[in-house]
Amino acid sequence: MHATVSSNAPTTARAEEAARNARDTRNDRLFGGLLKACALLVLVSLIGAAASTLWLGRDAFATFGWGFLTSSEWDPSNNRYGALVPVMGTVTTALIALIFAVPVSFGIALFLTEIAPSWLRGPVSSAIELLAGIPSIIYGMWGLFIFAPFVATTIKPWLMNNFSADPPDGQVSWLVTHVPFIAKFFSSEYPFFGAGVLTAGLVLAVMIIPFISSVMREVFQTVPTRLKESAYALGSSTWEVVWDIVVPYTRTAVIGGIFLGLGRALGETMAVAFVLGNTFKFTPSILETGSSIASTIANQFGEAEGLQKSALMAIAFLLFVVTFIVLMIARLMLRRLASKEGS
Protein backbone atom coordinates (compact mmCIF):
# COMPACT_ATOMS: atom_id res chain seq x y z
CA MET A 1 0.00 0.00 0.00
CA HIS A 2 2.78 2.29 0.90
CA ALA A 3 4.55 1.66 -2.33
CA THR A 4 1.58 2.40 -4.56
CA VAL A 5 0.77 5.81 -3.19
CA SER A 6 4.26 7.10 -2.97
CA SER A 7 5.46 7.27 -6.54
CA ASN A 8 5.40 11.10 -6.56
CA ALA A 9 4.67 11.81 -2.89
CA PRO A 10 8.33 12.41 -1.94
CA THR A 11 8.69 14.97 -4.68
CA THR A 12 5.62 16.97 -3.63
CA ALA A 13 6.71 16.76 0.00
CA ARG A 14 10.16 17.90 -1.00
CA ALA A 15 8.72 20.68 -3.12
CA GLU A 16 6.53 21.77 -0.23
CA GLU A 17 9.47 21.74 2.08
CA ALA A 18 11.57 23.74 -0.35
CA ALA A 19 8.77 26.26 -0.75
CA ARG A 20 8.42 26.51 3.00
CA ASN A 21 12.14 26.95 3.42
CA ALA A 22 12.19 29.66 0.80
CA ARG A 23 9.26 31.40 2.50
CA ASP A 24 10.94 31.17 5.90
CA THR A 25 14.20 32.51 4.52
CA ARG A 26 12.39 35.40 2.90
CA ASN A 27 10.42 36.17 6.06
CA ASP A 28 13.55 35.89 8.14
CA ARG A 29 15.32 38.35 5.90
CA LEU A 30 12.38 40.78 5.95
CA PHE A 31 12.06 40.51 9.72
CA GLY A 32 15.79 40.99 10.25
CA GLY A 33 15.78 43.98 7.93
CA LEU A 34 12.88 45.59 9.78
CA LEU A 35 14.61 45.12 13.12
CA LYS A 36 17.84 46.51 11.73
CA ALA A 37 16.05 49.58 10.40
CA CYS A 38 14.72 50.25 13.89
CA ALA A 39 18.18 49.87 15.39
CA LEU A 40 19.55 52.30 12.82
CA LEU A 41 17.07 54.90 14.12
CA VAL A 42 19.28 55.23 17.19
CA LEU A 43 22.16 56.19 14.92
CA VAL A 44 19.93 58.51 12.91
CA SER A 45 18.63 60.37 15.94
CA LEU A 46 22.14 61.01 17.28
CA ILE A 47 23.46 62.22 13.94
CA GLY A 48 20.22 64.12 13.34
CA ALA A 49 20.45 65.96 16.64
CA ALA A 50 24.01 67.04 15.88
CA ALA A 51 23.30 67.90 12.25
CA SER A 52 20.08 69.84 12.89
CA THR A 53 21.58 72.05 15.59
CA LEU A 54 24.67 72.65 13.47
CA TRP A 55 22.51 73.49 10.42
CA LEU A 56 20.24 75.95 12.24
CA GLY A 57 23.22 77.36 14.11
CA ARG A 58 25.22 77.97 10.94
CA ASP A 59 24.27 81.67 10.80
CA ALA A 60 25.70 82.30 14.24
CA PHE A 61 28.89 80.40 13.47
CA ALA A 62 29.24 82.21 10.13
CA THR A 63 28.55 85.66 11.60
CA PHE A 64 30.84 85.47 14.61
CA GLY A 65 33.37 82.86 13.52
CA TRP A 66 35.77 81.65 16.19
CA GLY A 67 34.95 84.78 18.18
CA PHE A 68 31.65 83.08 19.06
CA LEU A 69 33.56 80.79 21.42
CA THR A 70 35.64 83.52 23.06
CA SER A 71 33.19 86.40 23.29
CA SER A 72 31.38 86.94 26.58
CA GLU A 73 28.80 89.22 25.00
CA TRP A 74 25.16 88.07 24.93
CA ASP A 75 23.14 91.05 23.86
CA PRO A 76 19.82 90.42 22.07
CA SER A 77 19.11 94.15 21.72
CA ASN A 78 22.24 94.65 19.59
CA ASN A 79 22.16 91.12 18.13
CA ARG A 80 25.65 90.28 19.37
CA TYR A 81 26.19 86.81 20.77
CA GLY A 82 29.11 84.93 22.27
CA ALA A 83 29.09 81.53 23.92
CA LEU A 84 31.69 82.10 26.61
CA VAL A 85 29.41 82.91 29.58
CA PRO A 86 26.93 80.03 29.08
CA VAL A 87 29.76 77.60 28.30
CA MET A 88 31.64 78.70 31.40
CA GLY A 89 28.47 78.46 33.52
CA THR A 90 27.79 74.95 32.24
CA VAL A 91 31.32 73.76 32.94
CA THR A 92 31.66 75.47 36.34
CA THR A 93 28.34 74.22 37.71
CA ALA A 94 29.12 70.69 36.51
CA LEU A 95 32.59 70.76 38.10
CA ILE A 96 31.20 72.05 41.41
CA ALA A 97 28.63 69.27 41.26
CA LEU A 98 31.40 66.69 40.76
CA ILE A 99 33.47 68.07 43.64
CA PHE A 100 30.60 67.44 46.03
CA ALA A 101 29.00 64.40 44.40
CA VAL A 102 32.09 62.22 43.93
CA PRO A 103 33.15 61.86 47.59
CA VAL A 104 29.55 61.44 48.75
CA SER A 105 28.86 58.83 46.05
CA PHE A 106 32.06 57.02 46.94
CA GLY A 107 30.96 56.94 50.58
CA ILE A 108 27.54 55.63 49.66
CA ALA A 109 28.99 52.92 47.41
CA LEU A 110 31.46 51.95 50.13
CA PHE A 111 28.66 51.80 52.69
CA LEU A 112 26.46 49.67 50.45
CA THR A 113 29.15 47.18 49.43
CA GLU A 114 31.35 46.81 52.51
CA ILE A 115 29.86 48.30 55.65
CA ALA A 116 26.09 48.01 55.77
CA PRO A 117 24.54 44.85 57.20
CA SER A 118 22.89 42.91 54.38
CA TRP A 119 19.33 43.66 55.54
CA LEU A 120 20.01 47.39 55.21
CA ARG A 121 21.55 47.29 51.73
CA GLY A 122 18.33 46.78 49.77
CA PRO A 123 16.29 49.58 51.36
CA VAL A 124 19.15 52.11 51.32
CA SER A 125 20.09 51.46 47.70
CA SER A 126 16.41 51.68 46.70
CA ALA A 127 16.13 55.00 48.51
CA ILE A 128 19.19 56.38 46.74
CA GLU A 129 17.75 55.18 43.42
CA LEU A 130 14.51 57.02 44.20
CA LEU A 131 16.60 60.18 44.25
CA ALA A 132 17.37 59.49 40.58
CA GLY A 133 13.68 59.01 39.82
CA ILE A 134 12.57 62.44 41.01
CA PRO A 135 11.90 64.62 37.93
CA SER A 136 14.37 67.43 37.39
CA ILE A 137 11.62 70.04 37.45
CA ILE A 138 10.97 69.05 41.09
CA TYR A 139 14.66 69.57 41.86
CA GLY A 140 14.29 72.98 40.24
CA MET A 141 11.29 73.97 42.39
CA TRP A 142 12.92 72.70 45.54
CA GLY A 143 16.09 74.52 44.55
CA LEU A 144 14.29 77.80 43.92
CA PHE A 145 11.89 77.87 46.86
CA ILE A 146 13.76 75.93 49.54
CA PHE A 147 17.43 75.44 48.81
CA ALA A 148 18.33 78.86 47.35
CA PRO A 149 16.90 80.69 50.40
CA PHE A 150 18.86 78.27 52.59
CA VAL A 151 22.03 79.13 50.69
CA ALA A 152 21.23 82.82 50.98
CA THR A 153 20.72 82.78 54.75
CA THR A 154 23.31 80.18 55.77
CA ILE A 155 25.97 79.10 53.30
CA LYS A 156 26.62 82.26 51.32
CA PRO A 157 27.07 84.75 54.22
CA TRP A 158 29.45 82.29 55.89
CA LEU A 159 31.50 81.85 52.72
CA MET A 160 31.61 85.60 52.16
CA ASN A 161 32.65 86.31 55.71
CA ASN A 162 35.56 83.94 55.36
CA PHE A 163 36.62 84.21 51.74
CA SER A 164 35.48 87.49 50.19
CA ALA A 165 37.09 90.92 50.19
CA ASP A 166 33.76 92.53 50.97
CA PRO A 167 32.24 90.47 53.81
CA PRO A 168 28.76 91.26 55.23
CA ASP A 169 30.17 91.40 58.77
CA GLY A 170 32.86 93.91 57.72
CA GLN A 171 35.87 91.91 58.93
CA VAL A 172 38.19 90.78 56.16
CA SER A 173 39.52 87.36 57.10
CA TRP A 174 43.16 86.32 57.40
CA LEU A 175 42.82 84.00 54.43
CA VAL A 176 41.71 86.76 52.09
CA THR A 177 44.60 89.05 53.01
CA HIS A 178 47.19 86.28 52.61
CA VAL A 179 45.99 84.13 49.71
CA PRO A 180 45.93 85.99 46.38
CA PHE A 181 42.91 85.79 44.06
CA ILE A 182 40.79 83.76 46.49
CA ALA A 183 38.43 86.70 47.06
CA LYS A 184 37.65 86.84 43.35
CA PHE A 185 35.92 83.45 43.50
CA PHE A 186 33.74 84.32 46.48
CA SER A 187 32.59 87.86 45.85
CA SER A 188 28.99 88.88 45.33
CA GLU A 189 27.14 92.15 45.14
CA TYR A 190 24.11 90.64 46.85
CA PRO A 191 25.23 88.60 49.88
CA PHE A 192 21.66 87.55 50.74
CA PHE A 193 20.51 86.44 47.30
CA GLY A 194 20.52 82.66 46.95
CA ALA A 195 20.61 81.90 43.22
CA GLY A 196 24.03 81.49 41.68
CA VAL A 197 26.69 79.18 40.32
CA LEU A 198 27.38 77.48 43.66
CA THR A 199 23.67 76.86 44.36
CA ALA A 200 23.19 75.35 40.90
CA GLY A 201 26.29 73.19 41.39
CA LEU A 202 25.00 71.90 44.71
CA VAL A 203 21.56 71.05 43.30
CA LEU A 204 23.27 69.26 40.40
CA ALA A 205 25.41 67.38 42.90
CA VAL A 206 22.31 65.97 44.60
CA MET A 207 20.91 65.02 41.19
CA ILE A 208 23.97 63.09 40.00
CA ILE A 209 24.81 61.35 43.31
CA PRO A 210 22.49 58.40 42.55
CA PHE A 211 24.04 57.86 39.10
CA ILE A 212 27.66 57.93 40.23
CA SER A 213 27.04 55.92 43.39
CA SER A 214 25.13 53.18 41.57
CA VAL A 215 27.92 52.79 38.99
CA MET A 216 30.51 52.70 41.77
CA ARG A 217 28.48 50.16 43.74
CA GLU A 218 28.12 47.92 40.71
CA VAL A 219 31.79 48.00 39.82
CA PHE A 220 32.86 47.48 43.43
CA GLN A 221 30.81 44.29 43.38
CA THR A 222 32.80 42.96 40.43
CA VAL A 223 35.98 42.71 42.50
CA PRO A 224 36.68 38.98 42.99
CA THR A 225 35.96 37.93 46.56
CA ARG A 226 39.18 35.93 46.77
CA LEU A 227 41.21 39.12 46.24
CA LYS A 228 39.47 40.84 49.13
CA GLU A 229 39.62 37.76 51.33
CA SER A 230 43.35 37.40 50.78
CA ALA A 231 43.86 41.00 51.88
CA TYR A 232 41.69 40.49 54.95
CA ALA A 233 43.61 37.30 55.74
CA LEU A 234 46.83 39.33 55.74
CA GLY A 235 45.29 41.56 58.40
CA SER A 236 44.07 44.52 56.34
CA SER A 237 41.38 46.78 57.70
CA THR A 238 38.18 47.35 55.71
CA TRP A 239 39.45 50.74 54.59
CA GLU A 240 42.76 49.26 53.43
CA VAL A 241 40.95 46.58 51.44
CA VAL A 242 38.82 49.24 49.76
CA TRP A 243 41.61 51.72 49.10
CA ASP A 244 44.38 49.29 48.15
CA ILE A 245 42.43 46.47 46.49
CA VAL A 246 38.94 47.54 45.38
CA VAL A 247 39.76 51.04 44.10
CA PRO A 248 42.86 50.10 42.06
CA TYR A 249 41.02 47.11 40.60
CA THR A 250 38.04 49.21 39.50
CA ARG A 251 39.82 52.50 38.77
CA THR A 252 38.88 52.97 35.11
CA ALA A 253 35.25 52.06 35.71
CA VAL A 254 35.06 54.43 38.69
CA ILE A 255 36.37 57.25 36.52
CA GLY A 256 33.88 56.19 33.86
CA GLY A 257 31.08 56.52 36.41
CA ILE A 258 32.30 60.00 37.32
CA PHE A 259 32.30 61.01 33.65
CA LEU A 260 28.77 59.64 33.33
CA GLY A 261 27.74 61.94 36.17
CA LEU A 262 29.56 64.81 34.49
CA GLY A 263 27.67 64.14 31.27
CA ARG A 264 24.37 64.25 33.13
CA ALA A 265 25.30 67.45 34.92
CA LEU A 266 26.33 69.19 31.70
CA GLY A 267 23.01 68.57 29.99
CA GLU A 268 20.69 69.18 32.93
CA THR A 269 18.23 71.94 32.15
CA MET A 270 15.25 72.61 34.36
CA ALA A 271 16.88 72.51 37.77
CA VAL A 272 19.65 74.82 36.64
CA ALA A 273 17.25 77.18 34.86
CA PHE A 274 15.68 77.99 38.23
CA VAL A 275 18.70 78.43 40.46
CA LEU A 276 21.43 79.85 38.25
CA GLY A 277 19.94 83.32 37.81
CA ASN A 278 20.26 83.71 34.03
CA THR A 279 22.59 86.66 33.84
CA PHE A 280 25.27 87.09 31.21
CA LYS A 281 27.96 88.83 33.18
CA PHE A 282 31.47 87.45 32.91
CA THR A 283 32.76 86.74 36.41
CA PRO A 284 34.92 84.07 38.06
CA SER A 285 32.88 84.24 41.28
CA ILE A 286 30.88 81.14 42.18
CA LEU A 287 28.56 83.18 44.38
CA GLU A 288 27.35 85.35 41.50
CA THR A 289 24.52 84.47 39.16
CA GLY A 290 25.32 83.12 35.72
CA SER A 291 23.79 81.09 32.94
CA SER A 292 24.30 77.69 31.39
CA ILE A 293 23.78 76.54 27.83
CA ALA A 294 20.70 74.48 28.61
CA SER A 295 19.08 77.13 30.81
CA THR A 296 19.71 79.83 28.21
CA ILE A 297 17.99 77.75 25.54
CA ALA A 298 15.05 76.95 27.83
CA ASN A 299 14.59 80.60 28.75
CA GLN A 300 15.10 82.30 25.40
CA PHE A 301 14.17 79.88 22.63
CA GLY A 302 10.43 80.64 22.76
CA GLU A 303 10.85 84.33 21.97
CA ALA A 304 14.02 84.14 19.89
CA GLU A 305 14.07 85.04 16.21
CA GLY A 306 16.71 85.18 13.51
CA LEU A 307 20.27 85.43 14.69
CA GLN A 308 19.37 84.86 18.35
CA LYS A 309 17.66 81.58 17.48
CA SER A 310 20.69 80.61 15.45
CA ALA A 311 23.02 81.46 18.34
CA LEU A 312 20.89 79.28 20.65
CA MET A 313 21.11 76.40 18.17
CA ALA A 314 24.85 76.96 17.93
CA ILE A 315 25.35 76.65 21.70
CA ALA A 316 23.07 73.59 21.68
CA PHE A 317 25.45 72.07 19.13
CA LEU A 318 28.41 72.85 21.40
CA LEU A 319 26.60 71.26 24.35
CA PHE A 320 25.76 68.16 22.34
CA VAL A 321 29.32 67.70 21.09
CA VAL A 322 30.82 68.18 24.55
CA THR A 323 28.38 65.82 26.32
CA PHE A 324 28.84 63.30 23.50
CA ILE A 325 32.60 63.28 24.06
CA VAL A 326 32.26 63.10 27.85
CA LEU A 327 29.72 60.27 27.67
CA MET A 328 31.83 58.43 25.12
CA ILE A 329 34.82 58.52 27.45
CA ALA A 330 32.56 57.35 30.27
CA ARG A 331 31.22 54.38 28.32
CA LEU A 332 34.65 53.37 27.01
CA MET A 333 36.07 53.34 30.52
CA LEU A 334 33.10 51.41 31.88
CA ARG A 335 33.47 48.88 29.11
CA ARG A 336 37.09 48.21 29.97
CA LEU A 337 36.05 46.76 33.29
CA ALA A 338 33.42 44.59 31.61
CA SER A 339 36.06 43.09 29.31
CA LYS A 340 38.38 42.55 32.26
CA GLU A 341 35.59 40.71 34.01
CA GLY A 342 35.06 38.50 30.99
CA SER A 343 38.69 37.45 30.65
Partner: protein
Protein backbone atom coordinates in the same frame (compact mmCIF):
# COMPACT_ATOMS: atom_id res chain seq x y z
CA UNK B 1 56.21 51.50 67.46
CA UNK B 2 54.08 48.75 65.94
CA UNK B 3 51.36 49.53 68.47
CA UNK B 4 51.20 53.14 67.27
CA UNK B 5 51.09 51.98 63.63
CA UNK B 6 48.21 49.71 64.58
CA UNK B 7 46.41 52.59 66.29
CA UNK B 8 46.85 54.87 63.24
CA UNK B 9 45.48 52.19 60.99
CA UNK B 10 42.52 51.63 63.28
CA UNK B 11 41.78 55.35 63.53
CA UNK B 12 42.02 55.69 59.77
CA UNK B 13 39.64 52.79 59.32
CA UNK B 14 37.11 54.13 61.82
CA UNK B 15 37.27 57.59 60.26
CA UNK B 16 36.62 56.12 56.81
CA UNK B 17 33.67 54.11 58.11
CA UNK B 18 32.16 57.15 59.83
CA UNK B 19 32.60 59.31 56.73
CA UNK B 20 30.99 56.64 54.60
CA UNK B 21 27.96 56.40 56.88
CA UNK B 22 27.79 60.20 56.90
CA UNK B 23 27.80 60.27 53.08
CA UNK B 24 24.91 57.83 53.00
CA UNK B 25 23.04 59.95 55.53
CA UNK B 26 23.59 63.03 53.35
CA UNK B 27 22.07 61.22 50.37
CA UNK B 28 19.07 60.02 52.37
CA UNK B 29 18.68 63.42 53.99
CA UNK B 30 18.30 65.17 50.64
CA UNK B 31 15.80 62.56 49.50
CA UNK B 32 13.75 63.06 52.67
CA UNK B 33 14.07 66.85 52.41
CA UNK B 34 12.85 67.02 48.81
CA UNK B 35 10.01 64.54 49.35
CA UNK B 36 8.96 66.30 52.55
CA UNK B 37 8.83 69.74 50.89
CA UNK B 38 6.89 68.38 47.91
CA UNK B 39 4.42 66.76 50.26
CA UNK B 40 4.01 69.58 52.78
CA UNK B 41 3.88 72.39 50.20
CA UNK B 42 1.78 70.43 47.76
CA UNK B 43 -0.90 69.34 50.21
CA UNK B 44 -2.27 72.90 50.50
CA UNK B 45 -3.14 72.91 46.81
CA UNK B 46 -4.70 69.43 46.74
CA UNK B 47 -8.34 70.36 46.15
CA UNK B 48 -10.92 68.82 43.83
CA UNK B 49 -10.53 71.90 41.60
CA UNK B 50 -6.96 70.81 40.90
CA UNK B 51 -8.29 67.85 38.93
CA UNK B 52 -11.44 69.43 37.48
CA UNK B 53 -10.54 72.96 36.45
CA UNK B 54 -8.16 74.09 33.74
CA UNK B 55 -5.23 76.49 33.85
CA UNK B 56 -7.07 79.33 32.10
CA UNK B 57 -8.72 80.32 35.40
CA UNK B 58 -5.29 80.96 36.98
CA UNK B 59 -5.67 81.39 40.76
CA UNK B 60 -9.10 79.72 40.92
CA UNK B 61 -8.11 77.11 38.41
CA UNK B 62 -6.64 73.65 38.47
CA UNK B 63 -4.33 71.57 36.33
CA UNK B 64 -6.89 69.27 34.66
CA UNK B 65 -5.88 70.20 31.11
CA UNK B 66 -2.19 69.81 31.93
CA UNK B 67 -2.76 66.35 33.38
CA UNK B 68 -4.81 65.25 30.38
CA UNK B 69 -2.21 66.75 28.06
CA UNK B 70 0.60 64.97 29.89
CA UNK B 71 -1.30 61.71 29.66
CA UNK B 72 -1.82 62.10 25.90
CA UNK B 73 1.81 63.12 25.32
CA UNK B 74 3.15 60.23 27.41
CA UNK B 75 0.90 57.69 25.70
CA UNK B 76 1.95 59.03 22.29
CA UNK B 77 5.61 58.86 23.31
CA UNK B 78 5.33 55.31 24.61
CA UNK B 79 3.23 54.13 21.64
CA UNK B 80 5.88 55.40 19.25
CA UNK B 81 8.92 54.30 21.24
CA UNK B 82 7.83 50.82 22.37
CA UNK B 83 7.59 48.97 19.02
CA UNK B 84 10.69 50.68 17.62
CA UNK B 85 12.64 50.19 20.84
CA UNK B 86 11.67 46.55 21.24
CA UNK B 87 12.55 45.80 17.63
CA UNK B 88 15.86 47.63 17.84
CA UNK B 89 16.70 45.88 21.10
CA UNK B 90 15.79 42.54 19.57
CA UNK B 91 18.08 43.21 16.63
CA UNK B 92 20.92 44.05 19.01
CA UNK B 93 20.43 40.92 21.09
CA UNK B 94 19.54 38.37 18.39
CA UNK B 95 20.76 39.53 14.99
CA UNK B 96 23.87 41.65 15.50
CA UNK B 97 26.15 38.83 16.60
CA UNK B 98 28.54 38.82 13.68
CA UNK B 99 28.31 42.44 12.56
CA UNK B 100 30.39 45.35 13.73
CA UNK B 101 27.35 47.58 13.55
CA UNK B 102 25.77 45.90 16.59
CA UNK B 103 28.30 46.94 19.23
CA UNK B 104 28.46 50.42 17.70
CA UNK B 105 24.70 50.92 17.96
CA UNK B 106 24.64 49.49 21.47
CA UNK B 107 27.36 51.98 22.39
CA UNK B 108 25.56 54.92 20.77
CA UNK B 109 22.31 53.89 22.43
CA UNK B 110 24.02 54.12 25.81
CA UNK B 111 25.13 57.63 24.92
CA UNK B 112 21.65 58.59 23.75
CA UNK B 113 20.43 57.37 27.14
CA UNK B 114 22.23 60.24 28.88
CA UNK B 115 22.17 62.81 26.08
CA UNK B 116 20.77 66.23 27.03
CA UNK B 117 17.02 66.03 26.45
CA UNK B 118 16.86 69.69 25.50
CA UNK B 119 19.00 69.02 22.42
CA UNK B 120 16.74 66.12 21.43
CA UNK B 121 13.82 68.55 21.78
CA UNK B 122 15.57 70.97 19.42
CA UNK B 123 16.09 68.11 16.96
CA UNK B 124 12.35 67.37 16.92
CA UNK B 125 11.69 71.10 16.59
CA UNK B 126 13.83 71.09 13.45
CA UNK B 127 12.36 68.01 11.82
CA UNK B 128 8.68 68.30 12.85
CA UNK B 129 7.76 71.79 14.03
CA UNK B 130 9.57 73.80 11.35
CA UNK B 131 8.40 71.67 8.37
CA UNK B 132 4.79 71.60 9.58
CA UNK B 133 4.93 75.37 9.90
CA UNK B 134 6.04 75.71 6.28
CA UNK B 135 3.65 73.07 4.96
CA UNK B 136 0.59 74.66 6.57
CA UNK B 137 1.65 78.28 6.09
CA UNK B 138 1.97 78.75 9.83
CA UNK B 139 -1.39 77.20 10.82
CA UNK B 140 0.22 74.26 12.58
CA UNK B 141 3.45 74.97 14.37
CA UNK B 142 3.83 73.35 17.76
CA UNK B 143 1.78 70.22 18.32
CA UNK B 144 1.07 67.31 20.61
CA UNK B 145 2.49 64.99 17.98
CA UNK B 146 5.80 66.84 17.99
CA UNK B 147 5.84 66.62 21.80
CA UNK B 148 5.07 62.90 21.65
CA UNK B 149 7.90 62.31 19.20
CA UNK B 150 10.31 64.26 21.41
CA UNK B 151 9.30 62.12 24.39
CA UNK B 152 9.59 58.97 22.26
CA UNK B 153 13.21 59.89 21.44
CA UNK B 154 13.91 60.04 25.18
CA UNK B 155 12.07 56.80 25.92
CA UNK B 156 13.64 54.92 23.00
CA UNK B 157 17.13 54.25 24.43
CA UNK B 158 15.67 53.03 27.74
CA UNK B 159 13.47 50.48 25.96
CA UNK B 160 16.24 49.43 23.55
CA UNK B 161 18.62 48.82 26.41
CA UNK B 162 16.28 46.81 28.64
CA UNK B 163 15.00 44.72 25.71
CA UNK B 164 18.57 43.96 24.65
CA UNK B 165 19.62 43.04 28.18
CA UNK B 166 16.54 40.95 28.92
CA UNK B 167 16.80 38.98 25.67
CA UNK B 168 20.44 38.22 26.33
CA UNK B 169 19.40 36.75 29.68
CA UNK B 170 17.19 34.18 27.93
CA UNK B 171 19.13 30.90 27.99
CA UNK B 172 20.68 29.77 24.70
CA UNK B 173 19.27 26.26 25.11
CA UNK B 174 15.81 27.69 24.44
CA UNK B 175 17.00 29.00 21.07
CA UNK B 176 18.74 25.72 20.22
CA UNK B 177 15.69 23.67 21.15
CA UNK B 178 13.42 25.76 18.94
CA UNK B 179 15.84 25.92 16.00
CA UNK B 180 16.40 22.17 16.10
CA UNK B 181 12.65 21.72 15.65
CA UNK B 182 12.92 23.73 12.45
CA UNK B 183 11.30 26.93 13.67
CA UNK B 184 12.33 29.91 11.52
CA UNK B 185 14.23 32.60 13.36
CA UNK B 186 11.53 35.28 13.17
CA UNK B 187 9.01 32.89 14.71
CA UNK B 188 11.51 31.91 17.38
CA UNK B 189 12.08 35.58 18.16
CA UNK B 190 8.45 36.68 18.24
CA UNK B 191 6.80 33.65 19.78
CA UNK B 192 9.44 32.31 22.13
CA UNK B 193 12.19 34.79 23.00
CA UNK B 194 10.13 37.96 23.34
CA UNK B 195 7.55 36.02 25.31
CA UNK B 196 10.26 34.70 27.65
CA UNK B 197 11.62 38.21 28.18
CA UNK B 198 8.20 39.82 28.34
CA UNK B 199 8.14 41.04 31.92
CA UNK B 200 11.64 42.44 31.58
CA UNK B 201 10.55 44.37 28.51
CA UNK B 202 7.46 45.64 30.35
CA UNK B 203 9.79 46.86 33.11
CA UNK B 204 11.77 48.79 30.52
CA UNK B 205 8.63 50.39 29.13
CA UNK B 206 7.47 51.40 32.62
CA UNK B 207 10.88 52.89 33.42
CA UNK B 208 10.79 54.79 30.13
CA UNK B 209 7.32 56.10 31.01
CA UNK B 210 8.59 57.22 34.41
CA UNK B 211 11.49 58.95 32.72
CA UNK B 212 9.41 60.88 30.18
CA UNK B 213 6.59 61.89 32.55
CA UNK B 214 8.92 64.33 34.26
CA UNK B 215 10.55 65.72 31.12
CA UNK B 216 10.03 69.43 30.64
CA UNK B 217 12.74 70.96 28.49
CA UNK B 218 11.99 69.21 25.17
CA UNK B 219 8.27 70.03 25.47
CA UNK B 220 8.91 73.78 25.64
CA UNK B 221 9.47 73.99 21.91
CA UNK B 222 7.54 70.97 20.62
CA UNK B 223 4.18 70.68 22.43
CA UNK B 224 4.54 74.32 23.57
CA UNK B 225 1.53 74.20 25.90
CA UNK B 226 -1.71 76.15 26.11
CA UNK B 227 -4.29 77.04 28.73
CA UNK B 228 -7.19 74.99 27.44
CA UNK B 229 -8.36 71.44 27.46
CA UNK B 230 -7.37 69.87 24.19
CA UNK B 231 -7.56 66.32 22.89
CA UNK B 232 -6.37 67.19 19.41
CA UNK B 233 -2.77 66.07 18.88
CA UNK B 234 -2.32 68.52 15.99
CA UNK B 235 -2.91 71.37 18.44
CA UNK B 236 -0.53 72.88 20.97
CA UNK B 237 -0.74 70.72 24.06
CA UNK B 238 -0.22 71.56 27.73
CA UNK B 239 1.66 69.22 30.05
CA UNK B 240 2.05 68.93 33.80
CA UNK B 241 5.83 69.51 34.06
CA UNK B 242 5.62 72.49 31.78
CA UNK B 243 2.78 74.12 33.73
CA UNK B 244 4.77 73.48 36.93
CA UNK B 245 7.71 75.25 35.30
CA UNK B 246 5.63 78.28 34.33
CA UNK B 247 3.71 78.45 37.61
CA UNK B 248 6.93 78.23 39.62
CA UNK B 249 8.31 81.28 37.83
CA UNK B 250 5.08 83.18 38.54
CA UNK B 251 5.29 85.91 41.22
CA UNK B 252 1.86 85.05 42.70
CA UNK B 253 2.03 82.77 45.78
CA UNK B 254 -1.36 81.21 44.92
CA UNK B 255 -0.04 80.17 41.54
CA UNK B 256 3.09 78.81 43.25
CA UNK B 257 0.86 76.69 45.49
CA UNK B 258 -0.74 75.22 42.38
CA UNK B 259 2.74 74.47 41.06
CA UNK B 260 3.59 72.63 44.30
CA UNK B 261 0.34 70.64 44.12
CA UNK B 262 1.21 69.68 40.54
CA UNK B 263 4.72 68.75 41.65
CA UNK B 264 3.25 66.52 44.35
CA UNK B 265 0.97 64.72 41.89
CA UNK B 266 3.81 64.33 39.37
CA UNK B 267 6.31 63.04 41.94
CA UNK B 268 3.85 60.51 43.31
CA UNK B 269 3.03 59.34 39.78
CA UNK B 270 6.68 58.92 38.82
CA UNK B 271 7.68 57.22 42.07
CA UNK B 272 4.68 54.87 41.88
CA UNK B 273 5.69 53.95 38.33
CA UNK B 274 9.24 53.12 39.36
CA UNK B 275 7.95 51.03 42.27
CA UNK B 276 5.60 49.12 39.95
CA UNK B 277 8.46 48.62 37.49
CA UNK B 278 10.59 47.20 40.26
CA UNK B 279 7.76 44.90 41.35
CA UNK B 280 7.23 43.57 37.81
CA UNK B 281 10.96 43.04 37.47
CA UNK B 282 11.38 41.17 40.76
CA UNK B 283 8.47 38.92 39.82
CA UNK B 284 10.02 38.20 36.44
CA UNK B 285 13.22 37.09 38.13
CA UNK B 286 11.35 34.63 40.32
CA UNK B 287 9.45 33.12 37.40
CA UNK B 288 12.64 32.47 35.45
CA UNK B 289 14.34 30.41 38.11
Amino acid sequence: MSASLYTTRRIKNIAAMILSVAATCIGLLFLAWILWETLSQGIAGLKPALFTKITAYREEGGLANAMVGSLILNVLGILIATPIGVMAGTWLAEYSRRSKLGPTIRFLNDILLSAPSIVLGLFVYTIIVLPSKWLTNGDVTFSGIAGGIALALIALPVIVRTTDEMLRLVPGTLREAALSLGVPQWKLTVQILIRAARSGIVTGVLLALARISGETAPLLFTAFGNNFMTFNPIDKMPSLPQVIYEYTKDPSPDINTLAWAGAFVLTMFVLALSLIARFVFSRSKVSHD
